[in-house]
């Protein structure tokens, strides 16, 4: 039996397949002199690359290992300079997971709140980090992800080889450490989490992506910069008009939830009835109930909904694979059917990464089962 060790969150229902907005192949687009966007395929996470005479800055690190290696290939095709800085705009696997391909020696720049989270990682999470790129095994020996980190709390400016990057953090009690990167000379903005183009936002009741109020604060600050080109965290390149559109979207979404609450509708009914018909054709309609539940909590003045999780183990067989291994339907040896979400933080042994899963493959997994609900997709490995 090929042994596959998984740590995953259990979902009752699998997410509907994403409506593609970006092409099915990643693109490396020049935005300005020395500034490139790596636009992930099918709305995978985007990255940005800034080439300077003093080294390269990579902003976010690609959706998964093959994507990160692809980013590096593109960098090497345009410069001989080494990658010197990695900037993390949000603390999710599809943005941070490629970091070990570059750091060490590259310095990782991240917000203090993200760094605090990294500092709390358990030994096996650190071990996963070290193992992510087998070709980096030697460099990663005894290396903690924060060993080459530069963290900041409020704002930071990075000037390198004639390029200026302003790292913008908009303070909010629930901002988990999301930042934007602004290049004033080029008018290019990596909007971080707040950047969405024709996509329903991934805002969650556990506030792992902050709140709608916090997101609007970020968007307003970013609109004021008047960027010429905006790189969102996911999806096609966009402009300031899309940032403004998301502010409008959030205002309307909040009004809708408020109206339902005023009518005395219970949360379950609000989750079920929440629709944004005005934005028909936007990607990820599956986010509706989660958006509604998040706004509901915010409007009631409630803090994040942290769902307790229980660590469990399972042995069994893979029955179905979706989204390149992001979602697995498996049958355990005792006959239960489970839906497992495999994140970039999942420690996988036996295959290089989740894209190598095959139907019929036997596996053993340690996973987390969320009690009560499953709408919170935040991946918390225990």
């Amino acid at each position: 039996m090929r042994r596959v060790l998984l740590a995953a969150a259990l979902l009752a229902a699998l997410a509907a397949p994403a409506r593609a907005i970006t092409p099915d192949k990643p693109e490396f687009k020049k935005l300005a002199d020395g500034v490139y966007a790596y636009v992930g395929k099918l709305n995978d996470a985007n990255a940005m690359v800034v080439v300077t005479s003093q080294g390269v800055v990579v902003i976010d690190t690609g959706n998964n290992q093959p994507e990160t290696r692809n980013i590096l290939k593109h960098i090497q095709a345009v410069t001989k300079e080494a990658v010197r800085y990695i900037v993390i705009t949000q603390n999710h696997g599809d943005h941070i997971g490629g970091t070990p391909l570059f750091s060490p020696p590259a310095t990782v720049v991240l917000h203090a709140r993200t760094a605090k989270e990294w500092a709390s990682w358990k030994p096996y999470q650190v071990s996963t980090w070290r193992k992510r790129f087998p070709e980096r095994a030697e460099a990663m020996k005894n290396f903690h992800p924060l060993d080459a980190a530069l963290t900041f709390t409020d704002r930071m400016t990075l000037r390198l080889g004639g390029k200026t990057m302003e790292l913008i953090y908009i303070d909010d009690p629930y901002n988990p450490g999301d930042i934007a990167v602004w290049m004033p000379d080029e008018g290019v903005l990596h909007a971080g989490f707040a950047g969405y183009k024709e996509r329903h936002p991934d805002i969650r009741p556990d506030y792992s992506h902050g709140t709608t109020v916090g997101m609007m604060k970020q968007l307003e600050a970013l609109v004021a910069l008047k960027p010429k080109i905006v790189v969102p965290a996911h999806g096609p390149l966009m402009g300031v008009v899309d940032l403004q559109a998301m502010i409008d979207y959030l205002v309307i979404a909040r009004q809708k939830v408020r109206a339902m609450m005023d009518k005395g509708m219970p949360l379950e009914a609000i989750r079920k009835n929440f629709r944004m018909e005005e934005y028909k054709g936007w990607d990820r309609e599956a986010h509706y109930p989660v958006i509604a539940a998040t706004i509901y909590r915010e409007l009631r003045g409630e803090g994040p909904d942290i769902t307790p999780v229980t660590e469990k183990t399972v042995k069994g067989k893979i029955e179905k694979i979706e989204e390149e291994g992001r979602f697995l339907t498996v049958t355990s040896d005792d006959g239960k059917t489970l839906a497992l979400r495999i994140s970039n933080g999942t420690d996988i042994e036996g295959v290089a990464d989740r894209s190598y899963f095959k139907v019929g493959m036997r596996f053993a997994a340690i996973y987390e089962e969320q009690k009560e609900r499953n709408e919170t997709l935040q991946f918390q490995v225990q």
């Binding site: 020696p105 963290t151 900041f152 709390t153 000037r159």
Partner: protein
């Protein structure tokens, strides 16, 4: 049995020589204050420059009073290690702390508090005319300035920053209104070593520009005291313990109380300057700066 005793003996001697070589060979103006941390100033009360070794390269805190000193520091780094200088952290953007950055950067990355670049670009100290005057001081200085460029910091932070390099952590705290437009305290929590910038001085009156606020400086000193440092390295002056912070806190407290009492008595600023004495400062250097210290306290008392 005999063999193992001999081995131990040689190991011990070897280690002793190694340690001894490090302490002596850097030169008379270097002082090792902790393992791998060496403070340099050629002349007492000139700006300190500190070499900090890490497993991932060298970090410098300031680069010395002048480029001449920066070259001395560069030579010392070479004696200590073949590792490159990876980072320079400014305690302040004034020329006596940063003029020699060009000796190391690039490739070293310069880190400073927000406002450092603006301060440097506005300062007359880095103007061609001023550089010419500096280089004219001596042939050695002319040599030291060869290749001079103003190096604006690569990284500027607002409020707080943490930099991890190798096994060491550098916590940077922006110090508001203590001396320049962009002062940083730098704290090494594992080593319990604190760089105070020019927020404190050792038995010496500081030069208080109009932007300096004594209440803000007292806040900064109390914040730094709360870190409970073992080793305190001021921007200028001899390295010591937390007593440096205590002494400065006591001085500013006494200054504020003294000026406050005289203002209450209806005395003018000029009268206060003539009459005020602060016990314990009789042997301090820079007495000509005491009046501007009084002016800073007077501003604070008056709420200006």
């Amino acid at each position: 049995m005999k063999k193992s005793i001999v081995s131990i003996f040689f190991v011990a001697v070897g280690l002793w020589f190694a340690a001894s070589a490090l302490a002596q060979d850097l030169g008379p103006h270097f002082k090792q204050v902790k393992e791998g941390i060496y403070v340099y100033a050629a002349v007492l009360n000139e700006a300190n420059s500190t070499i900090i070794r890490t497993s991932d390269g060298v970090v410098l805190i300031d680069t010395g009073q002048s480029p001449k000193d920066s070259h001395v520091v560069a030579a010392a780094v070479k004696k200590l290690t073949s590792d490159p200088v990876r980072f320079i952290i400014h305690t302040e953007p004034h020329p006596d702390h940063v003029m020699g950055d060009f000796v190391f950067a690039p490739p070293a990355i310069v880190v400073a508090a927000e406002g450092a670049t603006a301060s440097m670009k506005q300062s007359e100290s880095f103007s061609p005319a001023r550089i010419e005057r500096e280089t004219a001081k001596s042939p050695e200085m002319r040599d030291a300035f060869k290749g001079f460029r103003l190096v604006p910091p690569n990284v500027e932070y607002r409020n707080r920053m943490t930099l991890n390099v190798g096994e060491r952590t550098f916590d940077l705290y922006y110090l508001k209104n203590v001396h320049s437009e962009a002062d940083s305290a730098i704290w090494l929590p594992k080593e319990r070593v604190l760089f105070t910038a020019a927020s404190v001085a050792v038995k010496r009156f500081g030069n208080h520009r109009p932007l300096v606020s004594i209440p803000d400086t007292l806040d900064a000193i109390r914040m730094m005291k709360a870190l409970k440092p073992e080793v305190v390295i001021p921007g200028h002056g001899v390295t010591g313990s937390a007593k440096i912070l205590d002494d400065m806190e006591n001085y500013y407290d006494a200054l504020m109380k003294g000026v406050g009492a005289m203002v209450k008595q209806g005395k003018s600023l000029d009268e206060i300057k003539k009459e005020l004495k602060i016990a314990g400062t009789e042997d301090w250097e820079g007495k000509d700066r005491f009046p501007n210290n009084i002016e800073a306290a007077y501003r604070a008392v008056k709420g200006n």
